[in-house]
Subunit: 464 residues, 2 copies
C-alpha cells in the first residue's frame, strides 16, 4: 500500500481550523482510533478527524478536501469488519457519529428518516413505543449510514431483506461537496437511475451518506425462537435448505457450528452442547407461527435434529439472540489478545451444504481456531479466524483458507462477500468474481463520480 | 425533438448487410412498428431493425453502431407505455424478442436464467409443472428484459416486490459492445457496485440487457380472491391504507374506480356494479389465508365496503384477474380509435387517499374519459386517458391533468412514475422531482457508460 500524501497541505489545515475550530482533532490517539474497524487489517490513521454535526459540516469539509485533493473517509461506529476505514493515503476522516438525530418517524407509512450517525439499536430503542422496528441487524451496533454504505444485513435478512431492500432514499454529499437526494418516500419508483442502490454498498467511495429514509415493520404479534442441535453439519444445513425450499416465511435461521457453539456457551454462560446448531425465529400471527413451527420442527427432526429448546418468552428469546449477536466476541474470547478476522461468502442455497462441508473440512486441517456462523437462510456464512498475532504463519494460513473459501463460493455461482463488503483485502476476490469488462464499468462509475479519487481511496477497486 | 442522423452511413449499412444478411430489415412497415410502444406518443421509426438471435448478434450490432455513432434502441415486446422506443435520432432497433430461450430453471434455488426476450407469460407457462411462478405482472405480456429495463412491477408487487427485488443478476451489452455480468446467483451480495440495480430502470440508456437471473416463488398452497364495492372512493382507499398499516401480507390489492369498473364490466362481460371497487388476493397456507381474509373483510366492511364476492375456484379467480389485466384494453374500448395514454405516479401510503381524491376531482371537471386503476397497496395508481385523436384540445387537457398529477405526487414525497419509467414525456417531471445536483450525477453516469450517447438517445435525460 502506498503511503502518499500523508501530511495535509498547510492551506487546507488553515481552512479546516477556520471553519471547524473545536470540532476537529489532530491528536494521534483520535486519528489512530479512526484508522480501522473491527477487522484484522492493521489500522492506518488519517491525518485529521472531523466530528461532523450536520450536513453543512460534511459539505464544507468535502469541498475543502476536493479543492486541496485531500482524501476523505466517512466514519460511523467503526465496526466494519473488512478494511473500509484504513486511511491508505492519509487525509481527513469525517466522523458522523454525532449526526445521530432521528428526524421523523411516520407510523402511517411504516417509514422513518434518520441522520447517518444513528445506530440500529438507538433507532429500535426510540421506536419501542410505536410498535414498529427496523429489522437489519449486523452483529455490532453499527450506524445506519455505515450499514447502507457496506450493504449490511444480518439475521433477519431472510425475511426482511438487506439494507438494499430497506432504504427508500438517501441524502449524500458528492466528491464535489454537493448534496444529492436519491429515491423518494414512495414504495417504488421508476424515475431515473437508481442512485439509492448505487450508493448502498459503495463503501464511501462514490459519496458520503448523510441521511436515510428507512422502511419500518410492525413488531409481529407473536415471535417464537428455538435452538436445535444436530449430530452432523449436513443435517443442519439440509434442514435450512428444506425450510427455504418449502417457502416457510422464517424470520431468522442461523447456523453455529460445534466450535462456535462451544465458544458461545462459554462466553454467554449458556448451557448448550457443543454441536452443530441452528437458531430459529418465527414471526407472525399466533396461528401462522404455530404452523411455521410445526413444519420446521418436522423438517429438522427428519434431518437428524434433536434437543429442540423453545424460547417463547421475550427474555429467553432475547438471551438467545444476544448470545448469537455476541458470537464474534465469543470467538475472540477463544484466544484473548488474538487477531480477529471474520470473512463472509454467500452461495445459492442448493450449494450451501457442499460449500460449508468443504470449508469445514479445510478448516479442520488447520491449527487456527475458526468457528463457522452464518445467516444460512440466505446462503450466507462467516468463518471467524482467531489468530495468534505473534505468529505470522497463522495469518498466512488464514489467508490461504480465505482464498480457497472465496474461490469455492465464486465457483458455486456465489459471491465473495454477502454483507461485509470489499474494503482493501477483498479487492483481489472482486477481480476473480467479475470479468474485466464488468470491473471496467465499475471503474468508470467511480471515475465519473469521483474524478480526483478523494473519496475513500483504494477501497473496492485497485487504484480507485 | 431533433431528427438528426436519420439515414444510416453507407459503410455501416454495408457492414450490417455483411454480418446480418437475412436477419435485419429496412422495410418501412417493420421500422414503423418498432418506433413506439403502447403509449400515446407518435411513433418515430428507426432506420433499420435487427432481429437478434443471440448475444453475439447484440454485441456485434452494438459494436457496429458504436464505430459509426449510430443510435441503438433495444426492443422487446413493444408494450412500454411511456415513450421508450421512439427512434428520435433514427438508428438501429435491436429486436430481442427472438432471444426467448429459458436457459435454466433451478427449483432448489428458487431461481431461473432466461434470455431477455422471454415474456412473463411464456416463463410462467413453462414453469407450470414445477410448482413455481414468477410474480411480476405488468398488464401486457412484456419481455423480461424490457420489464427489467423499465423497472416494471404490477399487481403482485405489494407482496413480492418489483423487478428491482427479483432480478439477481444480469448479462448486458455495453455501449462499446462488451458483455458484462452483474450480480451473482447468491441471494445477497456486497461485492462492488450494484450494477444490477443501476441497469434496472435505465430504459436501455446504459446497456442492453441480454440475459437475467430471476427469483421464483412456490405457488401458494391456497389463493383466494375477492371483489368488494364501496359507496365512495375514500372508503376504498382507506381500506387499502388500513390493510397495509395492519401488516396483513396481502398478495394483491387493486383499486378500480367507478369509470374503470364500468369499462371493465362492459369489456369483460362481467356483472359488477359501476362502483369504486377493490380487487383482493390472498396467498398462503389455508389457515393463514383464512386469517388474512377475516381481517381484511372486517376492515373493508368497517370502511363502507359491501357486496363481497369471493372467488376461491381457480377459474373464477383467473377470470377476475384477467378482467383486471385487461383494464387498459377495456379503457381503450370506451372510445374505439381513441388515443390511449396511461400515466402513473406513486406516493407514500398515508397520502394515497388525498392524492387519489384530488386527482379524481380534477378529472371530474374534464370532458376526457379517464378511469383510475392502481396497485394501491404500493401507493401506486394510473390514470388512463382515452383521447379523441382528432381533437388536440383533449391532448392538451390531458397533458395539464398529468402535469398536475405529477406535481401532486412529488409534493407528497412521491414519485413521478412508479413503474412506467420516464421515456421522453416524463423528462420534465424528472427535472421537477430531483434537484440539479442529483440530476447531474445521473448525467455523469450516462456519460461514463455511454460517452457517445448512442444508447436509446433522449430518454430519461434531456440530450442524454
Amino acid at each position: 500500500m502506498k503511503q502518499e500524501n500523508k501530511s495535509l497541505p498547510p492551506a487546507f489545515l488553515d481552512s479546516l481550523e477556520k471553519r471547524f475550530t473545536g470540532t476537529f482533532s489532530l491528536s494521534q490517539a483520535v486519528r489512530e482510533r479512526h484508522g480501522g474497524g473491527e477487522g484484522y487489517y492493521p489500522p492506518q490513521a488519517p491525518d485529521a478527524v472531523l466530528f461532523a454535526r450536520n450536513e453543512a459540516d460534511v459539505m464544507d469539509a468535502v469541498r475543502l478536501c476536493h479543492d486541496s485533493l485531500v482524501p476523505v473517509i466517512a466514519y460511523g461506529a467503526g465496526t466494519s469488519v473488512e478494511d473500509q476505514l484504513q486511511a491508505t493515503r492519509g487525509g481527513l476522516s469525517i466522523d458522523l457519529s454525532g449526526m445521530n438525530r432521528i428526524l421523523d418517524v411516520r407510523p402511517g407509512d411504516l417509514d422513518c428518516t434518520v441522520e447517518a450517525g444513528v445506530t440500529r439499536l438507538q433507532l429500535n430503542s426510540y421506536l419501542r413505543d410505536t410498535g414498529l422496528f427496523f429489522p437489519i441487524d449486523p452483529g455490532a451496533d453499527a450506524t445506519l449510514g455505515g450499514m447502507a454504505a457496506t450493504g449490511a444485513s444480518g439475521t433477519n435478512a431472510v425475511r426482511y431483506g438487506t439494507m438494499r431492500e430497506n432504504v427508500l432514499g438517501l441524502k449524500a454529499v458528492t466528491a464535489a461537496g454537493e448534496v444529492i437526494r436519491t429515491g423518494t418516500r414512495a414504495r417504488k419508483s421508476s424515475a431515473g437511475y437508481d442512485l439509492t442502490r448505487l450508493l448502498i454498498g459503495s463503501e464511501g467511495t462514490l459519496a458520503i451518506i448523510t441521511e436515510l429514509h428507512l422502511r419500518l415493520y410492525g413488531i409481529p404479534e407473536t415471535m417464537r425462537a428455538a435452538v436445535c442441535a444436530f449430530g452432523d453439519l449436513k443435517g443442519a444445513v439440509d434442514t435450512v435448505i428444506a425450510i427455504i425450499q418449502t417457502g416457510i416465511p422464517i424470520a431468522r435461521i442461523e447456523l453455529l457450528d460445534d466450535v462456535m457453539m462451544q465458544a458461545v456457551s462459554q462466553y454467554s454462560k449458556l448451557d448448550y452442547p457443543a454441536s452443530q446448531t441452528l437458531f430459529f425465529e418465527f414471526h407472525g400471527s399466533p396461528r401462522s407461527v404455530q404452523e411455521q413451527v410445526e413444519l420446521s420442527e418436522n423438517i429438522a427432526l427428519e434431518k437428524g435434529g434433536r434437543d429442540f429448546q423453545w424460547a417463547a418468552r421475550a427474555e429467553d428469546r432475547n438471551r438467545l439472540w444476544q448470545a448469537r449477536h455476541d458470537a464474534a466476541y465469543a470467538a475472540k474470547a477463544l484466544r484473548p489478545g488474538g487477531l480477529f478476522w471474520s470473512t463472509d461468502v454467500c452461495v445459492p442455497i442448493s450449494r450451501l451444504a457442499e460449500c460449508i462441508l468443504e470449508t469445514k473440512e479445510d478448516l479442520r486441517k488447520s491449527p487456527v481456531p475458526a468457528p463457522i456462523v452464518g445467516h444460512v437462510g440466505d446462503g450466507n456464512f462467516h468463518v471467524l479466524f482467531v489468530l495468534d498475532p505473534e505468529n505470522p504463519d497463522e495469518l498466512r494460513t488464514a489467508k490461504q483458507l480465505n482464498e480457497r473459501l472465496v474461490a469455492r463460493a465464486i465457483a458455486m455461482d456465489g459471491t465473495s462477500t454477502g454483507e461485509h463488503g470489499v474494503g482493501l483485502a477483498k479487492r483481489r476476490a472482486l477481480q476473480d468474481q467479475f470479468d474485466p469488462a464488468t470491473l471496467g464499468v465499475m471503474r468508470r462509475l467511480k471515475e465519473a463520480l469521483d474524478p480526483a479519487a478523494i473519496l475513500n481511496p483504494d477501497k473496492i477497486l485497485f487504484n480507485g
